[in-house]
Symmetry: C4
Subunit: 366 residues, 4 copies
């Protein structure tokens, strides 16, 4: 067994994925300062373990928007997963189903809402929404997600424009011709398969079709057209979190979009505390970005997240062996989280306290 941590799956994916897909999956915006920092910031946090607390039985389960999940780690929405494995989003969702946790499906997935629902009927599925200029199309997506039994709408609010990713520009990234954006017909399904002027096909797609004029009023509209709880994905400041809480949003997913939108944003874990401090008692708070390890999950929870999601690690799992690969990745991190809880003196998710985690500079003050 040579796969003992996420890095092993990542290294494997680097060897097997075609360059076009690999670069698309792994890249961050600009100089990738934030991409690196998403992981590095976790390593600047210190765990303060408590001892002698009877940790013989541990329970990693928690509830999210009323659903019980077996551990506070789910799968973040990432686009076009069939580039990693023929079963793409369906395999990913089944792995989440197996581990009784949340799978978030991207709007621009290569399996349709209905295909995913059918593949993983018992998974807790959320639908990640991009609002298109074409509001009818948008509404259609929402209704199909509701009908397919999805449990929340995750509105991504950090993507009025698509981030500039150098590798995709160099590769003139397009979706391979045998794949399509499965939730759509016509231009919206296939515009991403071609490019012009050496620009990433995805950027063309997004900047042409997504609605860059969104404001909080559109969030109100969204609330009015769906009965599902709404999660805002991509909030990075206490200011925006406060507006969301004031509007009665159900959840906030603190995220910098895997460092793919604009380089220089804080690591998600850096941004978390100010948001938890501002609205932690009013809204459920989640985090994604740089989670690679059970200790990362623990740290995020101590700093105020209720659960975390991971994007790329699931893609590396898919690239390895589809559903099985994602399960292995989930299992590794679950085992690590379990161990971290035990060694930190926690028997349950609720035992994780603020005092369990501090920044490294906490220690050089005495």
């Amino acid at each position: 067994m040579n796969f003992v941590c996420v890095k092993d799956f990542e290294n494997h994916a680097y060897n097997v994925l075609p360059k076009n897909a690999l670069d698309y999956y792994k890249s961050g915006a600009g100089l990738e300062t934030t991409l690196n920092n998403n992981e590095k910031a976790f390593s600047r946090l210190r765990i303060r373990p408590r001892c002698l607390r009877n940790v013989s039985k541990r329970d990693l389960s928690t509830t999210i928007l009323g659903s019980k999940i077996s551990m506070p780690l789910g799968i973040a929405p990432t686009a076009m997963q069939k580039m990693a494995h023929p079963e793409g989003e369906m395999a990913n969702a089944r792995a989440a189903e197996y581990y009784e946790t949340i799978f978030i499906q991207s709007t621009i997935s290569t399996s349709s809402i209905e295909e995913v629902a059918e593949a993983a009927p018992n998974a807790i599925k959320w639908f990640q929404l991009y609002i298109y200029n074409d509001r009818e199309v948008t509404l259609g997506l929402i209704k199909r997600a509701e009908k397919a039994g999805f449990k929340a709408i995750v509105l991504t609010v950090d993507t009025p424009f698509f981030g500039i990713r150098f590798a995709d520009m160099k590769n003139q990234f397009t979706l391979p011709p045998h794949l399509r954006l499965a939730n759509f017909g016509g231009e919206k399904a296939t515009k991403i398969n071609s490019t012009k002027d050496g620009v990433s096909g995805l950027n063309n797609y997004v900047n042409n079709l997504f609605d860059a004029s969104l404001t909080w009023k559109d969030v109100a509209w969204l609330k009015s057209v769906t009965s599902l709880p709404i999660v805002l994905k991509g909030i990075l400041t206490a200011e925006d979190a406060t507006i969301a809480a004031d509007m009665g949003i159900a959840g906030i997913l603190v995220s910098n979009h895997g460092a793919r939108q604009v380089d220089g944003t804080p690591a998600s874990i850096e941004a978390l505390p100010e948001i938890a401090y501002a609205v932690g008692n009013r809204v459920e708070i989640y985090l994604d970005g740089g989670v690679r390890d059970g200790t990362d999950v623990f740290k995020a929870l101590a700093l105020g997240a209720r659960m975390v999601f991971m994007g790329r690690p699931a893609l590396w799992g898919l690239a390895h062996s589809g559903e099985e690969g994602v399960k292995k990745v989930l299992n590794l991190i679950k085992t690590q989280l379990d161990s971290t809880l035990a060694i930190s003196g926690c028997s349950s998710i609720g035992d994780i306290k603020k005092e369990h985690v501090v920044w490294d500079n906490y220690y050089c003050k005495l």
Copy 2:
């Protein structure tokens, strides 16, 4: 398309420029701590993006000393640009003209004031002034710039001496024989083509011909002899900025001369906040040094600059393909700035606020 960021142009220039010119262009003073820090300091700043703010239409234009420019990024004065491309300053000015922004011409340029004016009649041109021991010669330059339609005099105040740059000393740098300092005749045009005692020819030139005795009185003199607005280039402290503001100077260009004068000065972006804080409401403040990316422009503006300039990136553009190359560089950064604005929730330059940018250590306090 393999040129997607300034670094690509820089790498290209490293391959094509002769060593003598390349070293002159890229070097910084002494051990180059500040040179590296000029760029690195930008990467220690974090952007706090705001979301849901209707960014469907963005306007990058602003006004500087009353002139409207299409974006807050211009071209800093760098000497002897014909070493990079036969059309040198003329090509550079035409690129600025194309992008409706400011071109600052160096006193020690290899195209004359008049040649630049003729090449780019509609560019907003500023003239960077070194005051020579010979005050008549100096006055001549000012009058010619006025006559040629330049819109401001940029007095460089950080160069009573020329900085010590190890590579130029090793190379015994001189201007290649087929080029001359085009604003002058006689010794002032050609002294730079030779050297002695293993000293850079440029250092000999400057230390012999420039007036190292300048004080604020000479700034008063300058004000008295020209009707053009005066910008002081090279201020790095709140103390000097305050004197400038008290004298009624129109603009301050916060700069460490591309880290070429004395190693150990702060990065320009480090020095900016204290100056903005001290005089930001009384003087227009600009910045140059280490700007390589649209996010850098955004950060500088958030910290108090009204516009920024870049020196070396334009040289790398020139070395690539003259006017076209500089245009490409300007276009890349403009596109990045546009994307940064959008993703940060800004529709116009005026929307960029202090709260949008913080130092990295802001996040490890909670």
Copy 3:
């Protein structure tokens, strides 16, 4: 003489030990951030030497739990030392005996309590205890240690679970077949010689046999069944130290288990000051983790430790030449400590004061 510091012994061991044993000895948990930090944190401390204090005679001796030792450096408990040298724990204990300092024997040693006692009758021996699910077995260990003349019970409180160490997982670590856990018979002696499912045999062993339900009540139980003083090993927070002090525990060994339990814990030396501050006047405080040098000992003592222990360096000494190798390692650090005392203006352990050591950031405040 090419062995002038611990690193030389470490490098040697890397060359001579079989991979299975070497990886087991050297690894830390997870990504090994804490493992590296255990040593690096020492290097961020600065010694403030005092001069002109007559250091012609130095005395490194001190007393620990009433026993006089020749220097404040002892040997931490590490499991299965016969993988490093055929005489394993016995050789190690003899080296400690020679240097009149403390040897702590691990529960899961490859020499028995009685063998160690016989090999080093005059050594000050402490017994490190893991509490097994089987309380009778546990009690047996305690009684045997008492009978064999051990002077303290060191209860390790950071190991309800065994840490996740990637290399051991990849190696599917097991104790080589010719060795056994010498304090036990049956399953408890040999379960560690095999593995299943690509999991470290040690993790299987610990997670099956150790009691993960321990609480402070079990510490009270331990106090009630032995007359020996009790040291709690593995405390990293002021909170737990306070509980221990309130219970009348004799000693606290500040330790993160050589960074082997969960990655992300503070370096031991980082955690020390808060503990010394909280209970330093009520309990004897010791430290292990990253001690490689006489200056490390000095720093730990200045920050509040009464003595320190080292784990891996003794293993490297064993791997070099058994008892002689450990003596050489002890001698090197003793000589360095002596030199550090002299140059810092201290003639005795008691002369080392808080003011002698500060964190590096102390100096950039001006």
Copy 4:
């Protein structure tokens, strides 16, 4: 001309010196954290240049203990300079003489007091004193220095023991047989030419012959037996500086002995401010350690030193070409200091102010 900075001379010396001598010259104590930090700490300081201050004429001269020197950079005492060049200390002193600055001769030099005095009669010479167990011998040195026209006694207070330097241990360092400690006869001259037990011959020498019992009373004794002003070399704390000032000592040389005594001491430049703050108005304060550049001199002066010394750079100069080499090194740094003054807006040493220099973290506070 390929030698444009101290590093060039250092690299050259690394190529030409025999290993035994090179290692002795370049090494620091222990893991060399402090050795590296001596230089690196300078690079964490920022110069805040002032502009428009008439720097056409600059005067680098200053007075030290009443003697006028041409620049605030002198030569620190380093032992056994003939290993670098046959003329050793004599060549070094002549270079100092040429540049009208201070040369400090080591007690354990390979030229005698009288030889140096004869070689450089007009140099301002100070004598660095190690107090031997044999007080008569010590007194003899003082009297000879007085007679030979030396202007101060520099008592090194950081060397009750010699530091542990790994390379010297490995090399079993001894002075080559054709050289001797020229100030002595008999054992004191030659004991250093041999070694035993793989210990550096120098450590044997020092630890046997130097007086490790020194206290402030011995400083009082020294004051009583000489009319020369006394400088204490090796003070690193405000506490000791205060004692020195209270005793009426003339000068304090802030130094960590080139990081050769105990690893972990602060960089000299780190220790300077607390000392300047405590006694800067009562005692002349100097610094050595890590000075490699004109900006280093400037920074030390801004933080409170009246002059600085350099040790190794002069050895690299000697190794290059004896007196000429040292002159070249002095000239390079002098030129750099001159440039630094000019560009920072200073015309004289007295113009350098505290406000000219700040630590790097000054700038990330906003």
